[in-house]
Amino acid sequence: MNVIEAKGLGKWYRKQGVGLPTLAGALPRWLSGGKADGFWALRDINFSVRQGQTVGVIGPNGSGKSSLLGLIAQTMVPTEGTVRSAGRISALLELGAGFHADLSGRENIFLNAAILGIPREDIRRRFDHIVDFAGLREFIDMPVKHYSSGMYVRLAFSVAVEMNPDILLIDEVLAVGDMAFQMKCLDRIRQFQKKGKTILFVSHALETVEEFCSDVLLIHEGRMIMQGNPSDVIFAYLKQYMVRIGLLNVEEHGTREIEMRSIRLLDEKGAETATFDSGSAMTIEIGYYARRRIAKPVFGFNIKTGNGFYVFGSNTQIAKVPIAAVEGAGRVRLRIAPLTLKQGRFFLSLAVHSWDHAVQYHRQEDLHPFLIRDVSGDKGVFQLNCAWEHQPTP
C-alpha cells in the first residue's frame, strides 16, 4: 500500500528581497503592474512510498529536499500537483521548535508535546522516563533559557521521540548533537523501522542513508533525478554532484598527450560501485588513450578523506612496475586488497605523468569519490592489523 504519493508536485517561490516584506515595498510593484519573479524550488516530482519503507532523500544544498518534506508535512501548499499521504505524520524537523525560553523544562515538555500532537496523557505517564532520558532531572524546573545548548537539544529530542506517528519525516536532525546523541537518534529510527513505520529521511550523511534506507530519491535543482536502491543512487550522486561542490580541489588538467578516458571502481565481483566494505577488495581500472608513442609513463593515485587529509599515495614508479611505453588505447588496473580504509567518504586522485615528473599528461584531482562502509566497531581512518594478548601473572 502506498502511504505517500506525489504526482506532478511543484513548488514555486517568489524571489524575496533583503529584509522583510512590506506594503511600502509591494505598492510600487502593484502600481507598475510588474509580475514578481520567482523560481521553482521543486517541479515535476513523482514518487510513491510504500507502508514500512524507509526512504532517503539526498541532493546538494538548496536542491529542494526540505521543501519536499514541508509539502508532505503540509506546512506548505504545493503550487501545482498533489501529494497525498495516509496516516498521521510527524516531523522531526527542528528540535525545540516552540520551546519558550522563560518556561521551565517541565512546562516546555508539555507545550512541545502539544505542538507535536502527542496526547497529554502519554506525556504524563511517560514524564519520568522523558526526564531521565534527557538526563535533566535536577534542572527540570529551571527556565530553559539557562540550559546549555546540549541540554536544550536533549530535552527537545526526548520529547520528540515520544511521538508515535504512522509516517515520520526526519530532516537532518542527526547533524546536531554529539556522537552519543546521534547513536540515540539512530537507535530510535531502528525502533520505528521494527514497528513497521514509514520513514522519510533527508540527510547528507550518505553512510547513514545507505545503512537505513531501502530506497533513495536524488533531487537536484528541484527535479527528481533518480529513484532507486541506495547504492546506485548514492553512486550516481557522488559521481555527478558531490565533486562539483568543491570540498577539495576537484580539477582536471594536463597536456592530454595521454588521456585517462574511463575510470571505473570495481568491487570484488567486478561490478562498478562507489561503496566498498572495509576489508574487501577494490580495483581501479583506468582506460587511457595515448595520442603518440610515449616511453616510460608513470601512473599514480592518491586517496584523501573528505576534509582533505592525505591518506595514501603511490605510483607505478615507486611500486617498481615500470611501463615501457604506451601508444593508442590501453588499460591500467590497480588492485587494493584488502582495502583497509575505515568508515567514511574518500576521494581518489589519478595522474599520469612522465618518468621525471616534468610533464603532467593528465591529472584528475579528487575527482572520484567513494564511500567505505564499515561494520566493525573499530574507529579511525585506517585499519591497523592488531592482535590482543593477555597474560595473567602466574
Partner: protein
C-alpha cells in the same frame, strides 16, 4: 465553519497549552505581573478623567467617571487582542514553518488568553465602578451579570480583527505601523472617553454621520457594557445600532475566509 469547530476540538490540548504559555509568561515576567494589566487601563482612565475635567471645567462634566473606566477597560481588551494577534504568526515563525497544525489556533490562543486577562481585570473594574456609583448613592445594575456573556461577543469581534492583522502582518511587516495609526484614529471615533450623547447632537444635524457612527461595532459594544452596568445609561435601539451589533458576525466570516486563504502561504513568507 464546520472545519473551524473540528480544528478546535481536535487541537484542544494545543490551544490549552498555548493559552497557558501566554498567561504564564505574562504573569511571570515581572513581579507586578497581573498588576500591570490592571494599572495600564487604570492610569489611562485616570489621565482621561483628569484632563477631561481640566478641559471641560468643573461645571458640567460631560461624561461620568465610571463610563470612562468601563470604556477604557473594554478598549484595552480590543487593543490587546489586536496587538497580540498581530505577532502571533510572525512571532512563531519557526513553529509555523516546521510543524503542521491549523494556523487559526495561534490567533485563537492569544485571544483566549486576552479574554482570561480581561475577565480578571473586569473584577477590578466592577469594584471601581461600584465605588464611584456608591459615592452618588447608586448601585451596579443587576444586568451587570450579563457582562461576561457580552465579553464573549466582544471577543468574537476582537478575534476577527486579530485574524485580519495576523494574516496581513505576515504579508506586510509594516502592518504594525498602519494598524497603530488606525487604532488611534478609531479610539477617537469610538465612545471610549466620551458618552454617546456627545455624538447625538452632531447626529441630529447630519443624520448620516450618526448612522455611520452607530455602525462602528465598538460603539455598540462599549455602550452595551455601560448600559448593562450603569443605571441611567440606555442602549439606543435603532436600525443602525442593531446593524452595528450584528456587523461583527459578518466581519468574522470575512476575516475567517481571508485568514484561511492567506495561511496557505504563511510558511513561504515567514
Amino acid at each position: 465553519m464546520v472545519k473551524i469547530i473540528t480544528d478546535i476540538t481536535r487541537h484542544g490540548d494545543l490551544i490549552r497549552n498555548l493559552v497557558a504559555r501566554d498567561l504564564k509568561i505574562r504573569y511571570r515576567g515581572s513581579i507586578l505581573g497581573f498588576l500591570w494589566t490592571i494599572l495600564n487601563p487604570l492610569f489611562m482612565a485616570i489621565i482621561y478623567i483628569v484632563f477631561l475635567r481640566l478641559l471641560v471645567g468643573r461645571g458640567g462634566g460631560i461624561i461620568q467617571n465610571e463610563d470612562i473606566i468601563i470604556g477604557v477597560f473594554a478598549w484595552q481588551f480590543t487593543m490587546q487582542c489586536v496587538n497580540s494577534g498581530m505577532n502571533c504568526v510572525t512571532g512563531n515563525a519557526s513553529l509555523v514553518k516546521k510543524v503542521y497544525f491549523p494556523r487559526i489556533i495561534l490567533p485563537l490562543a492569544v485571544n483566549i488568553s486576552a479574554l482570561v486577562n480581561f475577565l480578571l481585570t473586569l473584577v477590578v473594574q466592577w469594584v471601581l465602578v461600584a465605588i464611584l456609583l456608591m459615592a452618588k448613592g447608586a448601585f451596579l445594575e443587576p444586568a451587570t451579570l450579563w457582562v461576561p456573556l457580552m465579553s464573549l461577543y466582544h471577543l468574537l469581534f476582537n478575534f476577527s480583527l486579530a485574524l485580519l492583522v495576523a494574516a496581513a502582518n505576515v504579508y506586510f511587516r509594516d502592518t504594525q505601523h498602519i494598524v497603530n495609526l488606525l487604532m488611534s484614529a478609531w479610539f477617537f471615533m469610538s465612545p471610549v472617553m466620551y458618552p454617546l450623547s456627545l455624538v447625538e447632537t452632531v447626529a441630529r444635524a447630519h443624520p448620516w454621520i450618526g448612522q455611520l457612527y452607530m455602525l462602528n461595532p465598538m460603539t455598540g459594544i462599549i455602550t452595551g457594557y455601560r448600559a448593562l452596568q450603569v443605571p441611567g445609561v440606555a442602549f439606543p435601539w435603532t436600525a443602525a445600532s442593531i446593524a452595528g451589533l450584528l456587523l461583527p458576525l459578518v466581519i468574522l466570516v470575512i476575516a475567517y475566509i481571508v485568514f484561511q486563504r492567506a495561511q496557505r502561504y504563511f510558511s513561504d513568507l515567514l
